[in-house]
Amino acid sequence: MGSISLRNVKKSFGDVQIIPDISLDIKEGEFVVFVGPSGCGKSTLLRLIAGLEDTSSGTILLDGEDMTKAPPARRGLAMVFQSYALYPHMTVRDNIAFPLKMAKASKEEIDRKVEYAARTLNLSSYLDRRPRALSGGQRQRVAIGRAIVREPKAFLFDEPLSNLDAALRVNMRLEITELHQQLKTTMIYVTHDQVEAMTMADRIVVLNAGNVEQFGSPLDLYKKPANRFVAGFIGSPKMNFVDGPEAAKHNAHSIGVRPEHFLLSRENIPGTWKGTVGVAEQLGSDTFLHVHVDGLGLMTIRTDGDQTFSHGDDVYLTPDATRIYRFDAAGLAI
């Protein structure tokens, strides 16, 4: 249970087209992440699947059944919102029990499932508190608990970690991934953070302006980006792009080299790119060098933490020839 298929789904608000035409197949039990810059339509796409927005045209199939016109409750999906959307006047217990109560479950069943969810999420000691008295991470877990008890076909997460601080975000990322391995339920997760996408997903959908740029596993996207957009979006720091004569040497309109695929040297080796170090960002394990390359512009280079380059140093860069990405005039990978 839990496969989701979109067939030629389109969505526009008035004259504004948000999603021109999307077809997707999400397999049962998969953890799929929708990632893209803000305004790319990823949240809208999720809300279409949830049934909170009507599709302009196209079909949404859940487990092969046409659910395009079905109301949210009948789709059997559970959603975790960015603001958690807990009910402030109810205790944690009542919050988690609410979907069961609406489904007219028996008292024993409600108690059993709420206890189970609370134990899974380490919420047992907070059951009688109000959401107001909980920390951000705990609220997040209550929202997930409310989703779990419904035993949905799939979980939908709408940027659930964006309101948490950095340390907690890493924790919750792990917890959600573990939860997925435990429950094996289909999950769709929307984020603008490509690190979350890379670390959590089985497969990633990269969206841009309402179009699917690429749909594949994290490493696929990293190693074989379909186009320049995906190449630039996936990977941190961003890929460096070079146009013009330098790209023409590789028979391409533009080429891209990831920051980690350079060789650095202080000696002038023929055929390399000469540049001057601007800012050196030291992270301990790595250092990001921002190098002004003559004639090619600013490039980010990732090197180890022990390097000795500093501001104003001359540096010679050799891109790893086997890891140069080539793109044609339309931005498609060659």
């Binding site: 949830a50 949210p72 959603m79 009910y87 006047h89 609410f98 419904r150």
Partner: protein, 290 residues
């Protein structure tokens, strides 16, 4: 207000305003209290001097007092029920996205800007008059005997008029409460399988609880002293059928020219208002705790 010096200074600066307010409040109250223990009737000006509790016994002992008290409670309660229930429904309707929303809201609010005597006159002559009121015409259209509202249902008629005036206030407060409910909460409830009625009962109503409390408290304060609507329409009659405590004070003090008894009635009204306020705060005040 951190240092002792600024605190002292602020007290000195505030003193004139506080003293004026205090005098403004205390002097009429003390004068009323003083008159309530005096023989002071304009019809019998020769009889003066200390009256003891006679004025109070006269006011409270009169059967019209009990009736007025009951009328006051029915008036307040009736208007509260109509405005809170009606206001909630109107707020729910006005919260829907529809064309001309802004203008519609102004129209809905407008009765609140009509002065009480004017509103009462509109209802008296425009709607409820059996001969030429709109309702009379409506009844006649259906071949029915027009109702003489102010004679047959005097208190009910006053309740309708007052409720009409206060409905916009309740609607406005409740509408703002409704609009402050987060969209994601509604959507979450929708995902959780709550239908419209359950969403209203479990999500929207608890969210509005505090605003409903405020509406009840503010309206009660004003509704205890309803006067103009009664004065313009029924004149408290027939008999004492639509006389509330405030109007009884007017009848005793001004119409019967008995200032002493009127003052005693006024003091009783002050006590009643405080008793009502006390029970009201106990009943609904817990909603105000954040």
């Amino acid at each position: 207000m951190a240092t002792a010096q600024t605190r002292t200074l602020s007290r000195i600066m505030m003193a004139p305003a506080v003293i004026v307010l205090l005098i403004w409040m205390i002097v009429p109250l003390v004068m009323t209290l003083w008159f309530s223990f005096q023989n002071y009737s304009l019809i019998n000006p020769m009889m003066t001097g200390f009256a003891g509790w006679a004025n109070y016994l006269y006011v409270i002992g009169d059967p019209s007092f009990t009736q007025s008290l009951v009328n006051t409670l029915i008036l307040v309660g009736g208007v509260l029920i109509i405005t809170v229930v009606g206001g909630t429904f109107l707020a729910l309707l006005l919260d829907q996205p529809l064309w001309g929303q802004g203008i519609l809201r102004i129209i809905v609010i407008s009765p609140f800007f009509v002065m009480p005597p004017v509103a009462a006159l509109i209802w008296k002559n425009g709607f409820m008059h059996p001969g030429y009121g709109m309702l009379g015409h409506l009844w006649k259209f259906f071949g029915l005997q027009p109702v003489d509202w102010f004679n047959q249902y005097p208190l009910f008629s006053v309740i309708v008029i007052v409720a009409w005036q206060w409905l916009p206030f309740a609607t406005l407060i409740l509408l703002t409460a409704l609009q402050s409910l987060s969209e994601e909460q509604r959507e979450a409830a929708e995902m959780d399988g709550a239908n419209a009625i359950n969403r209203f009962y479990y999500i929207i109503l608890p969210h509005m609880a505090r605003s409903i409390t405020i509406v009840i408290l503010i309206q009660t304060i004003f509704l205890l002293g309803i006067f103009a609507e009664i004065r313009v329409t029924t004149g408290g009659g027939p008999g004492y059928a639509s006389t509330n405590i405030a109007f009884l004070v007017f009848r005793t003090g001004i119409l019967s020219n008995d200032i002493g008894a009127g003052s005693a009635g006024g003091m009783v009204a002050v006590v009643i208002a405080n008793v009502v306020a006390f029970f009201l705060m106990r009943a609904v005040g817990k909603n105000l705790d954040a």
